[in-house]
């Protein structure tokens, strides 16, 4: 346990920090790619299983769809924002931000 603070400090050292950043951006883009797959599943599944646990109630389905929809938008907004931030940190003033690196 006594080594813990020491170690953390090493991890936060300058060179490792950039590496972290690149890694983080890669995973962020992975998340951005995965999001529509998740969305498709959440949007399409209720129709596949008509007699779902929500039990055919239109009102409940309405709530379900809008809840899922809004949550996805929220996640997308957070992802887009972080993607921009990570990008900005990594290359300060190097060029205009564009999300092309991980392709």
């Amino acid at each position: 346990m006594t080594e813990q603070p020491e170690r953390r400090r090493i991890l936060k050292s300058e060179s490792l920090f950039l590496e972290d950043n690149v890694y983080r951006r890669r995973r962020l883009t992975d998340a951005v790619r995965f999001l529509p797959v998740l969305a498709a599943m959440l949007f399409l599944l209720p129709a596949m299983f008509a007699a779902s646990s929500l039990g055919g109630s239109t009102a409940l389905h309405l709530v379900y769809f809008f809840f899922v929809w809004f949550s996805l938008i929220l996640i997308a907004a957070l992802l887009a924002r972080n993607l921009g931030n990570v990008h900005k940190q990594e290359r300060p003033g190097d060029r205009t931000r564009s999300f092309d690196d991980a392709s």
């Binding site: 951005v32 529509p36 949007f43 399409l44 239109t58 769809f65 060029r95 931000r97 999300f99």
Partner: protein, 902 residues
């Protein structure tokens, strides 16, 4: 109640307001003042052209008929935008990098600038969009009718078809005027329309606010809060959750595809995109907009079904509910919302379509017709603008015609879906364009054409009731397998799903198959690579970013080609003629024309035209252009290499002249030095002769002294004579007027003669070693002169060799036609720095004037050897002073008359 005239007035005032906004935005965009116009917010709002009157009115109708199914129309686009990283990002990047002007342009560019493909996609877009425009006219007309009826208080007769037609005509004409004014105001290189986009963003806000207000009124004003609303939904006949999985998935997919492929969506999404980063924000902001738009749709439908009398058109609940509740202000707002939805769709769609029609159909045709005539490049621009204006008119005319013929039939949403399936036929080719390098032009053509035909057969013609009932039921010519809505016996499918499945399936299958089997042209492969690998290119290469052509770009290009000063002068003059200051004139046709001609002068016609089109963003560069450019470059290369050869020659001549000049200068210096040396050398003996003769004249001295002085005088005179002889000799040799007498003689005997002449036995302290191998060497040359050289070299060794036991080794060998003779002594030799001086006149290395030589020996030797056609040089690294003579055994007589080498 709202008087009908008030409604008309409000509608016109609203249009006027949009007009002003568009005009201001246009002006601001031109002066690059407004950040707002290019903000991500405007971009996101402009994307709302997806939500047309079909969405505004029709979604409620749809919800009233099929419950939650209306959601699919919004969920599809949500999927696409949440997944922007996959498709949209690439689409936008390609659109910017390749300066794409429409979806037809993108498809045709990708598949090798194929005109046939561009025409096909354009045709598909026009056919698919016309009913959609008709739909907008219908919704606006119907909403007018609702107000007219309400204003009449139910007393008058409801509007008949004639009145509807008339209204639709007015609306169509008004929209055409608006679109022409702002859509074709100027030919922007990037096909961007800041004014229009801004107006549409405003309309997006209006329609969202309108729908939200109606929704809030319905939930809180009519049904009494969210909970009550939920109860109403539960019991409503409209809304039972019985989704048909095929239709649900099919429609979600379809609307996802449509949001990419619809010409108007492509226009705002890709063409009008001002900054790629806006897409990242739109990826969540646009779904949010869609969510807000659909939030109250089901409540409005449910309340409408509950409170409105039976037989009321559910498509117009948004208007009729507020009217029925005496909320005329709200109704007016709702009307404006619907009006906004309809007008924004029609404006953007007709701009997108007119771009396609004019770029891919009218202009190629016009150029073909004009091919024979004189080509004045300036007037293409006018033709482009004119053809766009006409295209807009024609497209709206078609929409109106369709509206009149169909008689406003069918539920709104049905027509919308038919359109969706039509434009979706571009999707397989589009995906191939973005992700598959192997996709070929033939594949795309076959796929799109097949999809187009199948769509017409299974959906479009049945929908507009073109096929007789018998054919629908029994198939054409009684072929059951070909029944339009039950191909291959798949009649159990929903007609829409049936059409989606068959058209897209056959489309994709043939696209892939034909692509696999065909072989693309080089340009196709080139374009394929640059599209699919668009992200491999650097960000900087994405063309003329910022979207301003523009004159500045032209100036940059012109400066490169014409040179800075001339280009700036040209631009300044043009600007002054347009009444502007500075260096940037407007890119008027005249100016562009002048510039192109100017550039033609410096880079050739084809290259100039290609470059100008590139900067102008109008024409695609064809392979022929490239070939022409290559040809011209080759010619210029040839010319420039000839120039280069010439200039090399000139450089050589100049170098020779410079050398000659240096030599002359040097010679003159040498001559001065020589003269001063000669006078100095002459003066020393003369001085001693004079002084000793003075003594003798005075007498009064012993006879011994007299004899001594006389001897000195005699010696000095001899030395003087010898010096004069040498000078004479040298001058004769140098002037080339020396007479050479060739004779045959053995080299060894020549050396013997030289050694004996020097008179070694007397002095006796230089040992001469002769080294030779093989047969005696017989020379045919001026042997007397050669002996003189030998004497010189031997006596030099005698005088200067500083070894304790001086030795001179003389060796010779035959080397081809020449004989090499080396004289090597064992002294300390001559230092490196002096080696190149020893052959110069008066170049005694030390002041050993006592040696009795004026330092002319080696100079004379060199002259002689050169006369004899050989060379003499100092041979370093032999352990002492060493000279090598190289001499032809048979003197070439030409050497006598040859040019004199100084």
């Amino acid at each position: 109640m709202v008087p009908f005239n008030t409604l008309i007035f409000v509608a016109i005032a609203y249009v006027a307001l949009l007009f002003v906004i568009a005009a201001i935005a246009d002006r601001r965009a031109r002066t690059r003042q407004s950040r707002w116009i290019r903000s991500p917010l405007t971009y996101t709002l402009s994307l709302s052209v997806y939500c047309t009157a079909w969405t505004f009115y029709g979604a409620v109708g749809n919800a009233a008929r099929s419950g939650l199914e209306f959601l699919t129309i919004y969920l599809g686009p949500t999927l696409v935008f949440l997944g922007w990283w996959w498709i949209l990002r690439k689409l936008v990047r390609i659109g910017r990098a390749e300066r794409i002007t429409s979806i037809a342009d993108l498809i045709s560019s990708r598949y090798g600038k194929s005109t046939s493909l561009a025409v096909l996609v354009t045709l598909l877009a026009v056919v698919g969009t016309t009913p959609y425009i008709a739909l907008q006219l219908q919704s606006v007309t119907l909403s007018f009718a609702v107000f007219a009826d309400a204003a009449a208080g139910g007393a008058g007769t409801p509007w008949q078809q004639a009145e509807l037609n008339q209204t639709a005509l007015y609306v169509a004409v008004g929209l055409a005027l608006f679109t022409i004014l702002f859509g074709t105001r100027n030919l922007d290189a990037n096909e961007r329309h800041h004014g229009v986009v801004t107006a549409i963003a405003i309309e997006a806000i209006v329609k969202l606010v309108a729908l939200l207000c109606v929704g809030v009124f319905v939930v809180w004003g009519v049904s009494g809060g969210p909970n009550a609303m939920m109860m109403m939904i539960e019991v409503s006949p409209a809304a039972t959750w019985q989704p048909e999985p095929g239709r649900w998935i099919g429609m979600t997919m379809l609307s996802a595809i449509a949001v990419i492929c619809l010409p108007r969506m492509f226009q705002v999404l890709v063409v009008e995109n001002a900054d790629e980063n806006h897409l990242a924000i739109a990826s969540w902001a646009f779904p949010l907009y869609l969510l807000a738009m659909s939030l109250f749709v089901l409540p409005i439908a449910v309340v409408g079904l509950a409170i409105m009398p039976d037989g009321t058109n559910p498509d117009l609940f948004v208007l009729t509910i507020p009217l029925a509740q005496d909320q005329s202000g709200l109704a007016m707002l709702a009307f404006l919302g619907g009006f906004s939805s309809a007008t924004s769709m029609v404006i953007v769609a007709s701009i997108a379509l007119s771009t396609m029609v004019s770029n891919h159909i009218v202009i190629p045709l016009w150029l073909n017709i004009r091919r024979d005539g004189a080509m004045v490049s300036g007037d293409v621009r006018d033709v482009v603008i004119l053809s766009r204006r006409i295209s807009i008119g024609v497209i709206l005319g078609l929409g109106y015609l369709y509206f009149q013929i169909s008689g406003g039939s069918g539920a709104l949403s049905a027509i919308g879906l038919v359109s969706f399936v039509g434009v979706a036929q571009v999707f397989p080719a589009l995906m191939g364009a973005l992700f598959w390098r192997g996709a070929s032009r033939f594949g795309a053509l076959t796929g799109v054409a097949t999809g187009f035909v199948v769509w017409g057969y299974t959906l479009f013609f049945p929908a507009i009731g073109l096929f007789p009932d018998a054919m629908m039921a029994a198939g054409p010519l009684g072929l059951e397998a070909l029944r339009p809505q039950a191909l291959m016996g798949t009649g159990s499918l929903d007609p829409l799903v049936h059409a989606i499945f068959w058209s897209l399936f056959l489309n994709s299958a043939l696209f892939v198959l034909v692509s696999l089997l065909s072989f693309p042209k080089p340009l196709e492969r080139l374009q394929g690579a640059s599209f699919v690998n668009v992200f491999d290119r650097s960000v900087g290469s994405s063309g003329w970013a910022g979207g301003q052509l523009e004159t500045e770009d032209l100036l940059v290009m012109a400066q490169r080609l014409l040179g800075g000063r001339e280009a700036q002068e040209l631009f300044q003059t043009a600007a002054r003629m347009q009444g502007k200051g500075g260096y940037l004139p407007d890119p008027t046709p005249e100016f562009v024309d002048t510039l192109e001609r100017k550039l033609t002068g410096s880079v050739g016609a084809a290259a100039a035209h290609a470059m100008m089109s590139r900067v102008n963003g109008q024409a695609a560069i064809t392979v022929e252009d490239l070939l022409a450019v290559a040809d011209e470059s080759a010619q210029m290369l040839e010319y420039s290499s000839a120039l280069e050869a010439k200039s090399t020659e000139l450089q050589q001549t100049a170098r020779q002249l410079r050398l000659a000049n240096e030599k002359l200068t040097l010679l003159s210096v040498q001559k001065d030095a020589f003269l001063s040396q000669v006078s100095h050398e002459l003066r020393t003996p003369m001085t001693s002769i004079r002084s000793f003769s003075d003594f003798l004249m005075k007498g009064e001295m012993s006879p011994e002294d007299q004899r001594r002085y006389s001897t000195i005088i005699n010696d000095e005179s001899i030395r003087l004579t010898r010096l004069l002889d040498d000078l004479l000799d040298l001058s004769v040799l140098e002037s080339g007027s020396v007479q050479l007498n060739d004779q045959l003689e053995d080299l060894a005997s020549l050396i013997d003669r030289a050694v004996s002449t020097v008179g070694l036995p007397e002095t006796g302290h230089l040992e001469i070693i002769r080294k030779t191998a093989g047969a005696p060497v017989i020379l045919n040359t001026d042997t007397d002169r050669l002996t003189q050289v030998f004497i010189n070299l031997i006596s030099n060794a005698q005088k200067y060799c500083d070894a304790a036991e001086p030795k001179l080794e003389i060796s010779w060998r035959v080397n081809g036609p020449n004989v090499e003779i080396d004289f090597v002594d064992n002294g300390s030799g001559i230092p490196d720095t002096k080696q190149n001086l020893i052959f110069e006149k008066f170049s005694r290395l030390t002041n050993m004037s006592a040696a009795g030589s004026a330092g002319l020996g080696l100079a004379i030797s060199r002259e002689i050897i050169q006369r004899l056609g050989g060379s003499i040089g100092y041979l370093p690294g032999q352990g002492g002073a060493a000279f090598r003579l190289v001499l032809p055994r048979q003197r070439v007589s030409q050497a006598k008359s040859g040019p004199r080498v100084a």
